[in-house]
Structures are given as structure tokens and as C-alpha cells.
């Protein structure tokens, strides 16, 4: 399947993993697409759907790495398709995010992601955003954690999320750590107790894939380690009779 190339453009082959409801197994379909020097993977996929195969299912919205909707794996690495350049590649492999159920082709169900995020931090972060009053001094230093666009890329990149359905995931722990760092009148104790758990902060094996893959600079791996440091420190203080709670 080919789309015509115009002047200044060349043709690149896109291998796209396909799977529809009822399919016994996924398979790759190949599409030759005209791309320019600044073409993105998302632009190519939209062109495939428009010109070659309208049955290709994918999600996208903002086209500028703000909504987190177009997360997928390109040549094996997670990223937002809207800002992933085709570059000089002659062949590009595109697959849906890993560790989340595939709905159709490149679309995954985000429910497991939100299931981990919701009880730990998501509602708390939203609530703290709405507490009226002046922002505390120095809060700008923490605003990068608000950059989480809930794309699910960290969960896809995590090797443990691949085998452990109970692991809450990097995004949830990073979101909860925001509450600990900036309580804004909330009590961080219950949040810390939730994260100080075998299936939360202590499940991580320091692969750092989540932070490397995150397109938004959230650095969830660092947040997980900060939780561990705080939890371990509290335990050490209790052990040596210096008080302190996690």
C-alpha cells in the first residue's frame, strides 16, 4: 500500500501492529508513506488512515505533546507520536503501548493506568489545585510534577508493570509524592502509608525506564526513590527511638 511522494519528500515504510476484536493474534501491516524532513510519526499514521486504510485505529488530539493521548511505541521505545520525528529512518515500526489492554490497533484501554492513579493521588492533586489562597513561596520548584499528562508511557516502559498487575505504577507514586511535597493543608501521612507498600514504592527495581521515557519531565523514578528515602528514614528514626511516622 503506497501513497504518492511529492517533491522534497521521500517514502518511508511504516510497519504498524494491527489487532481487532476477534483476532487470534496481532500482525504487522506495511504502509509506504511520503514523509518530509520534519514529518512526525503521528502525521504519517493520520495519512495512512486517510489515504490507505481507514480501519487503522489510533488516538490523538492536540498534536503538540500536551494531551498525552498519542502515546505508543516507535521502534520499540515509548513516546508521543505527535513529537516523534521520522527523521532519516527508512522503516519505522509502530506498536501500541505495552502493559495495557489493546482495544484496537494502536488504541489501549487506560483503565488500569487510572485505577492505579485514582486512589493514590489523582483526586488529591486535583483537590489541592483548587484550594484557594496564595501559593506558598518556592512552589514553582515543584510545578514540574504537575506536568504529568497521564499518557501511560511510564507504565508501558516499566518492566515490572509488565508482569505485576497489582503494581500501582510510576505515575501514581509521582502524583502522590506531589501531595507529600506540597500538602497545601492536606495530611500527607495516609498518602505515604499507601505508597510505603510492597506493591507501590517498594516494587520498583531502579530500572529508571519510566523517567527516561516520560515525555513531560515528571521524573517519576526520582519521586519513587524520595518516597523510599522518607519511608526508610521514618523507620530508622522509630527503630532508634527518635519518634517519627511514615
Amino acid at each position: 500500500m503506497t501513497a504518492p511522494a511529492s517533491e522534497g519528500h521521500r517514502t518511508a515504510r511504516f510497519r504498524v501492529l494491527r489487532r481487532k476484536a476477534g483476532d487470534a493474534a496481532p500482525h504487522f501491516d506495511d504502509f509506504d508513506v511520503a514523509v518530509g524532513p520534519d514529518s512526525t510519526v503521528l502525521e504519517a499514521l493520520v495519512a495512512i488512515r486517510r489515504d490507505q486504510d481507514p480501519s487503522l485505529t489510533l488516538r490523538h488530539s492536540c498534536f503538540h505533546a500536551s494531551c498525552g493521548t498519542c502515546g505508543m511505541r516507535v521502534d520499540g521505545q515509548e513516546g508521543l507520536a505527535c513529537v516523534t520525528k521520522v527523521g532519516d529512518a527508512s522503516e519505522v515500526t509502530v506498536e501500541p503501548l505495552a502493559n495495557l489492554p489493546v482495544v484496537s490497533d494502536l488504541v489501549v484501554a487506560m483503565d488500569p493506568f487510572y485505577d492505579g492513579l485514582e486512589p493514590l493521588g489523582r483526586p488529591l492533586v486535583r483537590s489541592s489545585e483548587n484550594i484557594p489562597g496564595a501559593l506558598p513561596d518556592g512552589v514553582e520548584a515543584y510545578t514540574r510534577y504537575e506536568d504529568c499528562i497521564e499518557c501511560g508511557i511510564c507504565l508501558s516502559a516499566c518492566p515490572i508493570a509488565g508482569s505485576d498487575p497489582l503494581y500501582v505504577g510510576p505515575a501514581a507514586i509521582a502524583a502522590a509524592w506531589r501531595v507529600v511535597e506540597e500538602p497545601r493543608g492536606r495530611e500527607p501521612g495516609p498518602v505515604m502509608r499507601l505508597m510505603d507498600d510492597d506493591q507501590a514504592a517498594w516494587r520498583c527495581h531502579v530500572a529508571w525506564e519510566c523517567s527516561e521515557a516520560c515525555p513531560s519531565g515528571v521524573d517519576p523514578a526520582r519521586a519513587i526513590m524520595q518516597v523510599r528515602r522518607k519511608a526508610a528514614g521514618a523507620r530508622a528514626r522509630r527503630l532508634f527511638g527518635m519518634g517519627g511516622r511514615s
Partner: protein, 130 residues
């Protein structure tokens, strides 16, 4: 459309009982001890003992030194702990659930105790056979 923005308390922790030190901290401590003990083990065997403990008599002489025995037993205890906590961590990466996790932990305690007892009994058997 209005959204409810009242602060929400997180649900109770899944485990409200007293929290034991996470095994990760135990891994770090035992790992640090092992780096020292293994270093001593390697240096002594390959740089101090002339034959590198190849010959039976050299091994028996080595094990007849109570300081060496203490180091080797300590090494066995720490390496067994570190190894089996590592196995536990790998098994927990399957997300089996709390009940199965407790069963795994108890089984590994048994394996660990049997390993250390076997090692100490073996040491005694070696010295008796000499």
C-alpha cells in the same frame, strides 16, 4: 457541568498492621556486608593461600582456623539471606496477592534455614572426615 472539588481522603492502606522493615533495606545491608566478606573470601583464597585452596590439605587447614570458620559461616548466612530475598522479590513481581506472598515468604524462610543448617553441618562433616 460542575465538578466536585472537595478534598478527598485516600482510602485506608491495604495493610494497617505494624510495618516491618522493607526487605529492600535488608538487601542493601546484606549486599554491603557481602561485598566485604566476598572480597575477603576472594583475596584470602586467591592471593594469600599459595595453592588457591586447590589441595585438600590446604582446605582442611583453612577450615581448622576458627576465624576463617566464623567468616565462612557469616558469609553463608548473609549470602543465603540476600539470595532468597532476591528470589522473593522476583516472585513478588508477578503480583500474586497478599496471601500467596505470605506463603512464599514462609517457604523461603524454611529454605533459608535448611540451607544454613546444611552448610554448617557440611562444615562439621568435612572437619570430621579430615
Amino acid at each position: 457541568m460542575t465538578s466536585d472539588t472537595r478534598p478527598v481522603e485516600p482510602p485506608p492502606s491495604r495493610d494497617e498492621g505494624p510495618r516491618s522493615a522493607p526487605p529492600f533495606v535488608g538487601q542493601v545491608v546484606s549486599g554491603a556486608v557481602l561485598i566485604v566478606l566476598l572480597g575477603l573470601h576472594m583475596v584470602a583464597q586467591h592471593f594469600i593461600v599459595p595453592s588457591g585452596l586447590r589441595f585438600y590439605d590446604d582446605v582442611i587447614e583453612w577450615l581448622s582456623n576458627p576465624v576463617m570458620v566464623a567468616i565462612e559461616v557469616a558469609f553463608l548466612v548473609f549470602v543465603t539471606y540476600h539470595a532468597l530475598v532476591g528470589v522473593r522479590a522476583i516472585l513478588f513481581d508477578f503480583g500474586f496477592g497478599k496471601r500467596t506472598e505470605r506463603l512464599i515468604t514462609n517457604l523461603l524462610w524454611v529454605v533459608g534455614i535448611v540451607t544454613v543448617v546444611y552448610g554448617v553441618a557440611l562444615l562439621a562433616a568435612i572437619l570430621n572426615a579430615a
